[in-house]
């Protein structure tokens, strides 16, 4: 591993140690009024959505037989594995008693949405590890594994939305809606595809693999359909949930502005851009749309977790410097690890091609 990569990965350890000994109050601005903050919104809820591309690609290739995506599978699985690994890492950082988390296995309480997310996440990461490390022996099992992974991912992503159904009294009616589980699922699918598009685009720029235009064929319309579904659910939630009359005292200017910006730049604008064939077919176009979609999902998760919460004392939660540091570190570490192992995958593939080429030539 390159030296800067190692330095980046080790840089967060002092912070982890400080959090372990000083407690959450020392490293966050969280209070009893705002018990979940930036690490939850950015690293867990957004992170889980961004890592959703892996099962989509695996299902496309092994279940739907879309073979042109096959070269992407190892990269997508790697991304999903590292992404979900860092969701779990952030969860351990954010949970108050990380040494006791095994209690959710020995003493599960099945009515808890949080329990379901934890179990689905653990099972899903396990299936992905099997797919990654199982190698060629599992060739026959690829399709069933992809089906299982897809089912787990659907349950996982939607249950992340279900979590927030517990707080009708706290979350602004702009965001709160019984369709939150479906909203989380659709936006995670869109953001997952978007993350893969960007990763492929960057790998292409770095000369690791040529951006095959076949990779994004269909991605544009798929994202458009997901965004359109998302928009319909949001409008439905707004009308049915009374978001227009907005009874909570916290539907004030900044909250409404955040909501409009999130919906406008994260859902409507990318969907409108995708209507243009130029955007759908060109790699820069679709990468640009992907950036917007990811940004929109991040804003959405921040909205549900932080922005849309009432603050009776009039004091708004704003993350502390160490929260930004921790959140940034987890993202940077995940990207670093992905970039490193993605490079290794690319090297492996190019050496395989070199070995195979003479055989093909002699065969002819």
């Amino acid at each position: 591993m390159k030296k800067p990569f190692v330095i980046i990965l080790l840089a967060g350890l002092p912070l982890m140690a400080y959090r372990a000994f000083a407690g959450l109050g020392a490293v966050t601005a969280l209070t009893d009024i705002q018990p979940w903050g930036l690490v939850k919104a950015a690293n867990i809820f957004t992170g889980a959505a961004l890592a959703a591309g892996s099962f989509t690609v695996a299902a496309c290739v092994y279940v739907l037989g879309i073979k042109r995506l096959k070269p992407l599978v190892p990269h997508a699985l790697l991304m999903g594995f590292i992404g979900h690994g860092f969701v779990l890492t952030a969860l351990l950082y954010d949970v108050g008693r990380p040494l006791d988390v095994w209690r959710v296995v020995t003493n599960p309480q099945p009515h808890s949405a949080l329990l379901w997310t934890a179990w689905c996440e653990a099972a899903y990461t396990t299936v992905m590890a099997v797919e990654i490390f199982g190698g060629a022996r599992l060739e026959r099992l690829k399709a069933p594994l992809a089906v299982v992974a897809a089912a787990l991912a659907v349950m996982y992503q939607s249950t992340l939305g279900t979590l927030f159904l517990a707080s009708p009294h706290r979350i602004s009616s702009l965001w709160y809606s019984p369709s939150l589980p479906l909203q989380f699922l659709l936006s995670a699918l869109a953001a997952g595809i978007g993350t893969l598009v960007i990763a492929t685009y960057l790998a292409d720029r770095a000369g690791r693999r040529v951006f095959d235009i076949g990779y994004i064929k269909g991605a544009g319309w798929t994202m458009f359909a997901l965004l359109a579904g998302m928009f319909a659910l949001r409008l439905g939630g707004l009308f049915m949930g009374g978001g227009l009359t907005c009874t909570l005292p916290d539907c004030d200017g900044p909250v409404v502005r955040w909501y409009v910006a999130e919906l406008g730049f994260g859902v409507v604008l990318p969907a409108a851009m995708l209507l243009s064939g130029d955007v759908r077919r060109r790699r820069r176009g679709i990468a640009g749309v992907s950036v917007l979609v990811i940004f929109g999902v991040f804003m959405n998760r921040l909205g549900v977790t932080i922005i849309g919460w009432p603050h009776p004392a009039g004091v708004r939660y704003f993350p502390s410097a160490l929260e930004f540091l921790a959140s940034g570190y987890f993202i940077l570490a995940a990207v670093t690890l992905y970039w490193h192992f993605d490079g290794r995958l690319a090297e492996k593939k190019s050496t395989q091609v070199e070995v195979q080429t003479p055989a093909v030539v002699s065969g002819e």
């Binding site: 009893d32 006791d100 959710v104 949405a113 949080l114 329990l115 089912a151 159904l165 517990a166 009294h169």
Partner: protein, 305 residues
Amino acid sequence: MDSRFRGNDSIVLLWRSQHRFLFGYFLFFQRESNRGLESMVYSVLIDTVRCIGCQGCQVACKSWNGMPGERTSLGATMGNPAALDSSTYTNIGFTELDSPGGTAWHFAKHQCMHCTEPACAAACPAGALVKDPEGPVVYRKGLCIGCRYCMLACPFQIPKFEWDKAFPYIRKCTFCSERVGAGEQPACTRACPSGALTFGPRDKIVQEARRRLAAGGGRYTGRIYGLDEAGGTSWIYISGAEFGELGLAENVAARPYGTYTWDALSKTPLAGAGAAAVLAGLWFIVGRRASLQGQDGNQPGGDKG
């Protein structure tokens, strides 16, 4: 469900047969006698009209639970400490309200409502919060993972977190479950000198609340807070002012809050199974098409879907 003494029961029986004189046995005997009455769900009536704002309940609570005092300051109202936190399970809110007879002070005690079907217990992934059949919502701290989901779920915003500790716990009013289990009443109701807090079986307590409302002659608003809120609570209020003005949570729905998530959760396995069934079906169709095309000598399945 008797979480507090589960696992000790066999030891208790052993004790009972041989050491009837022991004080420990006395406690358990009290508990056994309570258990005999099936419908014995305990409740507390808070009558803010009778409250004189002496804060004796706060002192009794701190003292019984061994909680440290905290540095406070005199605010606009005389509530002190101003809010509940991880070392204050109960406090009195002081509210000045204009009424036809002049300005009046209203005192309202705040603490965990001990819901009949608690949202916190439904939210907890490890079963650290459970409803005791006798009424208290009990926190089994050994099971807590510190996820703070109970804090999001509680419609009364009661669970508090020990932010300053490296190994923190959730803190909230315990309904003195160890006292109630031993046939004693909670420390706060015991300390109340003015009859503002009445402890007893829930049906009797509700009856008493209705009796006071009927006999009150305009001193009460006529509503009982906690009868329907969040599906019913063990602690109920009657007062001479609107409950929202006294700092109690307003617009609490009349259904247990755990049902909001359960409505979706109970359908989630179906969604997962449905997704798996659809994908498996597509897999079968795609594979079939590919093999048929292969027989026809066409190119095997390429870009479809």
